[in-house]
């Protein structure tokens, strides 16, 4: 039981530690000013506006990851409370916490691991609009090839 307690407390302290020392913001920032102006003027949006939709969908997923992680931690706490000393119930609560921590760690830790590796190997850091600027460039290239002015 003490091993379980140690494991649980180390998972909690991992999150506290990463919060205090490793806060890293990586929501995707992308300017949708053109789309907003076009819509306000009642014009049809440019085909490039699809990048705005992708940016908003990705930001929504990032927000949902945080919500689901906290919800799973609380669900695990609820399972532990309602176990009332039953070893099976306690194990269920533990598993919920463990897999929530693994899932959250993968999502939050990806950029931290990349940053550490990039510093060691001398690679450039990922800008927050890394993916979207490449999608935009690809779309512009596609439209140019097809002779459409975006």
């Amino acid at each position: 039981m003490q091993r379980h307690l140690f494991k649980t407390l180390s998972i909690i302290s991992l999150f506290v530690y990463s919060g205090v020392f490793g806060v890293k913001t990586y929501a995707i920032s992308y300017s949708c000013a053109n789309l907003t102006t076009e819509l306000a003027a009642g014009e049809a949006p440019s085909p490039l506006a699809i990048v705005c939709v992708i940016a908003r969908a990705l930001n929504l997923f990032i927000m949902v990851v945080g919500i689901v992680l906290v919800a799973m931690i609380l669900w695990g706490a609820l399972k532990l409370s309602t176990a009332l000393g039953d070893p099976k119930g306690v194990k269920g609560g533990h598993d919920t916490w463990t897999y929530a921590a693994i899932g959250g760690g993968i999502v939050i830790g990806f950029f931290a691991i990349y940053t550490i590796l990039a510093q060691i190997l001398g690679l450039p850091a990922i800008p927050s609009d890394f993916l979207l600027t490449r999608i935009e460039t690809a779309l512009i290239g596609l439209f140019n090839a097809a002779g459409i002015t975006p």
Binding site: M1, L5, T8, I12, F15, V16, S18, G19, G22, V23, K24, T25, Y26, A27, I28, N59, L60, I62, M63, V64, V65, G66, I67, L69, V70, A71, I73, L74, W75, G76, A77, L78, L80, S81, T82, A83, L84, G85, D86, P87, V90, G93, W97, G104, V107, I108, S128
Partner: protein, 111 residues
């Protein structure tokens, strides 16, 4: 403690007439879900702590029952602490993911 749903809905910025019909952002829905779970989880852990004390009282010295009660007490306290810690974890995780919605970051439940 047990009127947590009213408190959570009040804190989400909705007027009583709107209730749950006017939830128009993921932030608001997320804030309600998380704060509701925090309130429920903390309340249940307090009830579980009380129940484990009742188990102690009813054990009549039986080592097996005492062990079960001890187990229940330990994990109920851990669950209660984790629930309180999740108030901080919520802000840390959500802000490290770059979420700026004040519906999520500022909302706190009242017990």
């Amino acid at each position: 403690m047990f009127n947590s749903l009213t408190n959570v809905i009040n804190q989400s910025g909705l007027t009583p007439n709107e209730k749950l019909t006017n939830l128009n952002s993921v932030g608001q829905i997320g804030a309600i879900i998380m704060n509701l779970l925090i309130s429920i989880s903390f309340s249940v852990s307090i009830i579980a702590i009380a129940y484990s004390f009742i188990q102690f009282l009813m054990s009549q010295g039986d080592p097996k029952v005492i062990k079960v009660a001890q187990n229940a007490l330990t994990w109920s306290i851990v669950a209660g602490i984790a629930t309180l810690a999740s108030l901080g974890i919520k802000n840390v995780v959500v802000s490290s993911l770059g979420v700026t919605s004040t519906d999520i970051t500022n909302a706190t439940p009242s017990f």
